[in-house]
């Protein structure tokens, strides 16, 4: 039997779930008393878990084996004496030689030493539009990062998508075709106020990007210059997850009813997939619960290993897994606190 190992980041610590499809063991909680907000890996392969506490702020934990952990001394942080608070580390992106961290209050930080120290990305953090940035329901957070050479995309809620063409020195807003959060498609354009929820792109064609937005599902084929709605077959355009499998190109999302009602439509928790780049969507495979599942799936709680394995966790603390590229899904027995981050380790 193939063994599967899953890192689960929750509101109350992290856990490692390991099993063969029938029996599952649980290690944890790691970091008891702390939220595990996102997972990552440094260029040298070191595992990274970002943690946070309502009392003690944020931290970066590193490990060679996902078992023994050590906190770094200098996580991303805003300067002393300023108005900004470091509330949460939302994402850690590895572009090869460099790590990027997206945080709230919204900002980007980079590390060139495996995550030990972090420097602010000033061109974005001090962007001329910053005085107009406003938080969404989840706060003012930079939560998604894509990179390709000198091009960098970052999603900030509820501001929008920014693109840099010079490695992060200068940034431009890229939201044409997407309505401002909560507004109809023909609403007047605003410079900021776009609530991007998730981003994924095709590494071989990085100008093609998929965007799960507060306002629906969108795609661009020109690096974000123009966005087009792609919701054919989806029961709702709202949700947080957009994932592209690197091996098959298959897209995955988990639709939720609406911004006011962040649970699956009629309680039917389903992953939807697309094999035509998002032109059409349908329920991914089988195995879904017949009983209603009124639970959500957050943007960081879906992960794939690019070899047919995908796992997601719900705000109700349950794990769902497929090992055959999304054809057959299984809900695992263990239950957890609210799941914020997932990483398939093997």
């Amino acid at each position: 039997m193939v063994m599967t190992r899953i890192a689960v980041g929750t509101h109350k610590g992290a856990y490692v779930v390991e099993g063969n499809g029938n029996e599952w063991s649980v290690e944890g909680p790691l970091f008891p008393g702390w939220k595990a907000t996102t997972f990552g890996a440094a260029p040298d392969g070191t595992h990274i878990t970002a943690v946070g506490s309502n009392w003690f702020g944020v931290g970066i934990q590193t490990s060679a084996d996902f078992h023994e952990w050590e906190q770094t001394d200098s996580p991303p942080g805003w300067p002393d004496g300023g108005d900004r608070k470091m509330e949460q580390i939302w994402t850690i992106h590895n572009d090869g030689p460099r790590l990027w961290a997206g945080v709230s209050e919204a900002g980007l930080f980079i590390s060139d030493d495996q995550g030990q120290t972090w420097d602010p990305v000033t061109g974005l953090n001090e962007h001329p539009t910053r005085p107009d940035w406003e938080p969404g329901f989840g706060g003012l957070c930079a939560h998604r990062i894509l990179t390709s050479g000198d091009q960098v995309w970052v999603g900030i809620s509820a501001v929008g998508v920014f693109r840099s063409d010079d490695g992060g020195v200068t940034w431009q807003l890229k939201n044409d075709g997407v309505p401002p959060a909560g507004q109809p498609d023909d609403a007047p354009r605003t410079e900021v106020g776009y609530c991007v929820h998730g981003l994924a792109h095709e590494p071989a064609n990085p100008q093609r990007i998929w965007r799960q937005d507060h306002s629906g599902m969108f795609r661009t084929d020109d690096g974000g210059d123009t966005w087009h709605r792609i919701e054919n077959g989806l029961p709702s355009g709202f949700g947080f997850v957009i994932w592209r499998d690197g091996a098959s190109g298959r897209l995955f999302t988990v639709p939720l009813t609406s911004d006011q009602n962040r649970v699956p439509v009629d309680g039917e928790l389903r992953v939807y997939s697309s094999d035509d780049g998002g032109d059409s969507w349908s329920v991914a495979g089988s195995g879904w619960a017949e009983a209603p599942q009124f639970t959500g799936v957050l943007r960081g709680a879906f992960h794939g290993d690019d070899s047919g394995g995908f796992c997601f966790g719900t705000t109700g603390g349950k794990l769902w897994l497929t090992t055959d590229n999304g054809d057959r899904w299984q809900q695992l027995d263990p239950s957890f606190p609210r799941i914020e981050a997932i990483r398939l380790l093997s």
Binding site: F31, P32, G33, W34, V51, S53, N54, W55, F56, G57, V58, G59, Q61, W69, E70, Q71, T72, D73, S74, P75, G77, W78, P79, D80, G81, G82, R84, K85, M86
Partner: protein, 87 residues
């Protein structure tokens, strides 16, 4: 002046050398600065961006609520606690 700093168990994962430290200093600010020399990663957890003790972190000197200016007698116990809050 030397004090014993006692840290809450939840900070176990944040320290390299334990939850109790002998640190010199005449007030809480100096004691904490000494602590951060030993455990650099703790500064971010105890002090916020304004330079003050975090809102939901409490410091006691020999059982009395303290701030950064509170004097620390020789042999005092400097206890760091997390406020009873959260969910």
């Amino acid at each position: 002046m030397t004090a014993e700093v006692r840290l809450p168990r939840v900070l176990t994962q944040a320290v390299k050398t334990g939850l109790r430290h002998e640190v010199s200093g005449e007030n809480v600010d100096q004691v904490l600065r000494g602590l951060f020399q030993l455990e650099p990663g703790l500064r971010n957890h105890l002090i916020d961006e304004s330079g003050h003790i975090r809102t939901h972190v409490l410091v006691f000197v020999d059982g009395e609520r303290a701030d950064l200016t509170t004097a620390v007698p020789d042999g005092a116990a400097v206890q760091v606690l997390q406020a009873v809050s959260g969910g």
